[in-house]
């Protein structure tokens, strides 16, 4: 068990805060240090011939920011924009990248030691993008492996 955990997530310790949000039926968490902002820039301009995981670009205060389709990346179909859809902007090695989520939830405080490895029956694609699982009172929080998500497919 421990070995699997270490393979999935590098050894982390101490406390951590997650920004949590819903994509499809999943409650996902992203480490708060990755997240630059959450906004309503969901009116995405599509870019023809771009990779399938790219939804398009938005204007973020004068900067043209790429927006990824988190649903597609996680193998949950294509993005559907609704009134609660939000754009989570993260910093990926100097470049800002946004991805659309269905709904923003709370910020969750946790300790790295409480984060469990993803269940073994989680199939390949999703497993790659998840760093671990954290048990909340009312359900499970899947912690995103930001590096993998930002790397695209």
């Amino acid at each position: 068990m421990n070995a699997t955990l270490e393979a999935a997530a590098p050894v982390r310790s101490g406390d951590v805060e997650f920004v949590t949000f819903c994509v499809g039926d999943l409650l996902l968490g992203a480490e708060i240090c990755h997240v630059e902002e959450i906004n309503r820039h969901v009116d995405v301009t599509p870019v023809a011939h771009s990779p399938e995981w790219v939804l398009g670009v938005v204007n973020l205060r004068g900067e043209v920011v790429t927006v990824l389709d988190l649903r597609w990346i996680l193998g949950l179909g294509n993005n559907v924009t609704t009134a609660t859809t939000r754009n989570v902007v993260v910093n990926a090695g100097g470049e800002r990248i946004g991805f659309l989520v269905d709904r923003i939830a709370d910020v969750v405080n946790a300790s790295w030691s409480d984060i469990k490895a993803p269940p073994a029956n989680l199939n390949g694609a999703q497993g790659r993008f998840l760093q671990g699982i954290y048990e909340l009172d009312h359900g499970l929080l899947a912690v995103l492996n930001m590096e993998e998500v930002l790397a695209g497919n």
């Binding site: 870019v47 023809a48 011939h49 771009s50 990779p51 938005v58 204007n59 043209v64 920011v65 790429t66």
Partner: protein, 892 residues
């Protein structure tokens, strides 16, 4: 200050010292024995300062090298050494290495400087041996320098002064591959930029203004009284524009940063090739945007190398050609009409057009028939085709024949243009035109489906709107490929919606014949590629700010970037070449547009005309050559002032002519939007209202000059069953505003004595009128004659001095060749420049004309070319720089 800071300070300071050393050394060499002490001192001091600080920092290699350079410079200063090519070479190469070491100061110890040291020492010892500089003396100098830094450190450099033996052994283990002259040091422009405090202060002020405006805005929005929103938005607008301008200013750099390396390039090349050359640099203080400065280095280097390698002859050849053995290359930068112009011009052998054509045929770039049809200008442009090189032997100096093609591609990628002109025996000039900045690009915004896209104006050559009714005629399919029939050529079409896989509104599908169904086609050009792009709608022209796309989209070759439109939405910038590749448009050599227009003008009996209707039933034609530009206006922009219609635009008013007021014509159709044909009469501009443009096409000039003749109408012809009247703009204008012409020359009666007088011989009434109007519009007095004999009689009539002759070649009674021969054999007339304007273009005719003494050969009928040539010839003949006999000599 910690150690790192001291080193950084040293690097910055040394780079400053070394910045000009190259040009200074070259200047020292140029002065030769006449030593400019102040100049040598400047270099000496620069090297000395570097040596001093390097000693303090224990950078022994830098110190050793600068020490030896200093020794040689000292000998030059004391006139014990006369700087020659060898000495300058050694100093230049040493300076290169010194710069490389300073720029990479941490690894300077690994550089092998022994070669330079030996070279410099042998130079020094070759001078009067009484002045060897012993190491102790050197240490003292170093101490002088260093004591301003830290007193206690002064003993250290003394320990570090090495004997030559030390230096060599120390570097033997060093990386040898790194030892020789380093090339391509990274200029400081890439990371840092110097901005004057004045500009920064100005920016600071503006930032303050911006904050004030924001506060006002917040306050007004907060108080919900929208009273002075207008004034606030006006203020914001102004501040923003000013900030934009100021920020652009911070990015400006003098072009000298690029130009300064060329004296060295030319000098070294001349040395290698055994040629002699002066590089004349003009406009080095012209300021260009950083992005442009960074982009022009390579193309310019290539052009300069080309000029030395291929352009200039060897001194022996030059002497044989009667020129000074030393060639001259002009490198010039200037601003004109919102563009940056860069010129590289040599006075070498020029390009032999016939050989270019031969080569192009031999290399399969064009066919023999195409070669025969090509004019000189198009032939010259062949050198920009891929895989073309005229050097019989490939050299490693100007590359392997890929060069000019790459230059063209690079410049066009920057939104610029390249052109070449050349005269055999006189030299070659390459003109580059570039936008002022790459960060802001004037673009046309178009819509396709739900998306909006920006197309840089630089890639757009024209816009074509095909009406629903004309679609069947103009848009056709060849094997599933759509083409547009445009002035006799077939232009491949690309549907933007298809290339980008967008849902397009139905109006543009091939077989749709809807009501609103105009098809908008943007004719775009990129390199050799020319095609029409079908979009759903055209929006405004905007200056857009280019933003890069993220790395996820790096494979989207259709887009060159993105921009943010006024409403905050993102619009993608189309990459014309990438789009063509996406649409798998076969990359074919499309004919130049200028070429097709010229072919139209060149065919003996036709000319490019703009066709329009006034009332929808009456068609008129105006020669394209006379038109300055076309404006599209709204009907309500026309004011009537005292019966005179004027158009308020660009802050001035343009006088308008209505056709029905000047000639027998039906009143114009009332329209919301109409066109104005703007043309020039002398120094004035005037507009002719042309409600509906029909076409631009080659029109035969065999016209009926009787049926509809009246002032303003030359005659008529029938085009596709429509009687079309050919207008004489100058006469129209004269009829409407006779007062404008009171002080200007009347037709065929020269009235302004100070203006140059041109004798014109032309038998075709149509062309004669055209030529007279071109020349008179430019302010010349013109005497028009119907054939060569009449012209000759006029020339021999006493009392009327002429300054220049413009003649047709094929004329009754006396043709142009005979006229030219007579003029050139008459001692009192031979000074007159003769310009032939003709539709004859075969090689034999050109040759025959040159033998007869014709100075310039122009193909009918390019107005700009004509007036430019006339002006140039008049200037030359006034200067007396070109004697007629020389002229004929050099052409043949």
């Amino acid at each position: 200050m910690n150690d790192r800071q001291i080193v950084d300070e040293f690097v910055a300071e040394s780079c400053d010292h070394l910045a000009d050393i190259e040009s200074q050394l070259l200047a020292i060499e140029a002065n030769g024995a006449a030593i400019d002490e102040e100049l040598v001192n400047t270099v000496f001091r620069a090297v000395h300062s570097i040596k001093g600080t390097a000693g303090f920092l224990q950078l022994s290699n830098i110190q050793d090298l600068s020490h030896e350079m200093e020794t040689v410079l000292n000998l030059i200063r004391s006139r014990e050494l006369a700087p020659d090519a060898g000495i300058t070479n050694a100093l230049l190469r040493a300076a290169d290495t010194l710069r490389a070491m300073v720029e990479n100061v941490d690894n300077s110890g690994d550089v092998d400087v022994s070669e330079h040291l030996t070279a410099l020492r042998s130079i020094a010892s070759g001078a009067q041996t009484a002045v060897p500089v012993p190491p102790p003396a050197d240490t003292e100098k170093t101490l002088d320098m260093v004591q301003t830094f830290v007193a206690e450190a002064a003993s250290e450099p003394a320990n570090d002064v090495r004997t030559p033996a030390d230096s060599v052994s120390a570097t033997e283990t060093a990386d040898r591959g790194n030892s020789t002259r380093p090339t391509g040091h990274t200029p400081a422009t890439e990371t840092n930029i110097r901005v004057s405090v004045r500009v920064l202060d100005h920016l600071m002020n503006l930032a303050g203004e911006l904050v004030l405006s924001r506060n006002q805005l917040l306050q007004t929005v907060g108080s919900k009284t929208n009273g002075n929103l207008d004034s606030i938005s006006a203020r914001l607008n102004q501040v923003t524009s000013e900030i934009q301008e100021a920020v652009m200013q911070t990015r400006l750099q003098v072009v000298e940063t690029v130009f300064s390396k060329f004296p060295r390039v030319v000098r070294d090349l001349c040395g290698t090739l055994g040629k002699q050359c002066d590089l004349v640099v003009e406009g080095e203080d012209v300021e260009l945007d950083k992005s442009i400065i960074e982009a022009i280095g390579d193309p310019l280097t290539h052009l300069i190398r080309n000029a030395v390698d291929h352009g200039l002859e060897t001194p022996a050849e030059r002497i044989a050609a009667g020129k000074s053995p030393k060639g001259r290359i002009l490198l010039k930068a200037f601003h004109q009409a919102g563009k940056v112009h860069l010129v590289v011009r040599d006075d070498g052998a020029g390009i032999d057009v016939a050989r270019i054509r031969e080569k192009a045929v031999a290399k399969g770039i064009i066919t023999a028939e195409q070669a025969h049809e090509l004019g000189d200008r198009e032939s010259l442009r062949l050198i920009f085709r891929p895989g073309f090189s005229t050097a019989d032997q490939l050299t490693n100096i100007s590359g392997r024949g890929v060069g000019m093609d790459v230059v063209r591609t690079n410049i066009e990628r920057l939104g610029g243009t390249v052109d070449v002109d050349s005269r055999v025996g006189q030299g070659t000039g390459v003109n580059l035109t570039l936008p002022l900045t790459l960060a802001i690009v004037p673009s046309l915004i178009v819509r396709c489906g739900a998306g909006r896209f920006a197309i840089p104006q630089a890639s757009i050559s024209e816009l074509v709107r095909v009406k629903a009714g004309e679609r069947a005629d103009k848009l056709q399919c060849v094997n599933d490929a759509e083409v547009l029939r445009l002035r006799g050529n077939l232009l491949p079409l690309v549907r933007l919606s298809g290339a980008l896989r967008l849902p397009s509104s139905g109006a543009n599908t091939p077989d749709h014949t809807g009501v609103a169904g105009n098809t908008n086609i943007i004719v775009v050009e990129s390199g050799h590629l020319r095609y029409g792009l079908i979009v759903d709608a055209l929006h405004d022209s905007e200056e857009i700010v280019v933003k890069p796309l993220g790395k996820n989209m790096k494979d989207c070759r259709c887009f060159a970037g993105a921009t943010i439109l006024g409403d905050g939405q993102v619009a993608l910038i189309l990459d014309v070449a990438g789009l063509a590749a996406q649409a798998s448009l076969a990359i074919r050599e499309e004919k130049d547009r200028s070429e097709s227009v010229e072919t139209m003008a060149a065919s003996a009996d036709s000319q490019a005309m703009l066709l329009f209707t006034n009332a929808s039933t009456e068609q008129f034609a105006v020669p394209m050559g006379l038109i300055s530009r076309l404006e599209r206006i709204r009907g309500d922009q026309i004011d009537s002032v005292g019966g005179q219609e004027v158009l308020q635009y660009r802050g001035a008013s343009l006088t308008l002519l209505s056709l029905e007021k000047q000639i027998r014509a039906l009143p114009r159709a009332e329209q919301q939007r109409l066109y104005v044909i703007v043309f020039r009469v002398g120094q004035r501009e005037i507009g002719l209202i042309a409600p509906q443009l029909t076409d631009i096409r080659a029109v035969p000039t065999e016209i009926d000059t009787t049926s509809f003749r009246e002032p303003g109408v030359v005659g008529s012809l029938v085009l596709e069953g429509k009687t079309t009247r050919l207008l004489d703009l100058l006469e129209l204008c004269r009829a409407a505003h006779p007062d404008w012409f009171e002080h200007a020359p009347q037709a065929e009666t020269p009235a302004a004595p100070h203006a140059p007088t041109i004798l014109l011989a032309e038998d075709s009434g149509f062309f004669r009128k055209q030529l007279v109007s071109f020349l008179q519009a430019d302010g010349y007095n013109v005497l028009a004659c119907e054939d060569g004999q009449i012209a000759w009689d006029a020339l021999r009539r006493p009392g009327q001095p002429y300054d220049l002759i413009v003649t047709d070649l094929e004329m009754p009674h006396m043709n142009g060749f005979d006229l030219a021969k007579r003029v050139k054999s008459d001692p009192s007339l031979r000074r007159l420049p003769i310009i032939a304007v003709t539709s004859l273009a075969s090689e034999e005719d050109v040759e025959r004309g040159r033998k007869a003494g014709i100075d310039e050969y122009l193909i009918k009928l390019d107005r700009d070319q004509l007036v430019n040539t006339v002006a140039e010839r008049l200037r030359l003949s006034r200067l007396g720089a070109v004697q007629p006999q020389n002229t004929t000599g050099r052409i043949s």
